[in-house]
Symmetry: C2
Subunit: 128 residues, 2 copies
DNA sequence: CAGAATCCTTAGTGATACTG
DNA sequence: CAGTATCACTAAGGATTCTG
């Protein structure tokens, strides 16, 4: 009997595997960008929209998302090659959620940064 | 002029600083657990609810969340010491969003795992 | 263009021991 | 109890080079 009605995240909880993909810096951005565009995007386009991501990290994020069925990858065997990424239905659902987080982050960034500055100031005081 | 109406995540975008905290494995769980309980939780309680987290990682996650004003930390100067963690108003908002993600992960874990298995099987085929 | 492969640096994680 | 401190280790990330 647990008197606590709250949530417990067990090690083998299947949701944790899913969360590990979503709780990733670049995955969040990829979902965000693809959600914001209804047309499929090419690799370099995607990369242009996510400043600071390296080709390696973006490739990896896209592979993980593809693997989990959130993103589909279409290769057009032309020269030069053309690869397009789009959200699957599953990905669109997830995108809605992660976009909500991104939006919240944007509108509350000031509050968070203020809290952070105050915290850091307090720390500096304590050290002095 | 950009013909693309989509989102771009600039390097200096303030939301990215916020996202870096939320896009963290343990932070998500902490917010989830604290959202699920309306009473404040102690360190070890929190840890019991998040299987597999080390004391170091949990401490770090809690510090980051406290720093960003999402979690408040109350020290009761008793012996033995008693430290309680609770969500701030800001944290409660964020918790709603991250809990939505956790819930989605839980209900869709099967679909994701199926996609993953299919992907891995295809890979194995290609290698053969 | 869209990557794969390589090397290298650093950040994250775990285990252990110690403290107010 | 709720941490801090330290060391060892692994995994993630960056820079660069190469290829169909």
């Amino acid at each position: 009997m647990d008197t606590n009605s709250g949530i417990t995240y067990a090690k083998d909880c299947p949701s944790r595997t899913v969360l590990s993909v979503l709780a990733n810096k670049w995955s969040l951005y990829v979902l965000g960008v693809l959600s914001g565009n209804d047309r499929p995007l090419r690799f370099t386009e995607l990369r242009r929209h996510i400043e600071g991501v390296t080709q390696k990290s973006l490739t990896q994020a896209l592979r993980n998302l593809e693997r989990d069925g959130l993103v589909s990858r279409t290769i057009h065997p032309t020269i030069p090659p053309r690869v397009e990424y789009r959200l699957t239905d599953l990905g669109r659902e997830a995108g809605t959620l992660t976009t909500a987080i991104a939006d919240w982050s944007k509108t509350n960034a000031a509050r968070v940064h203020a809290a952070r500055a105050a915290y850091d100031a307090r720390l500096a005081d304590d050290r002095a």
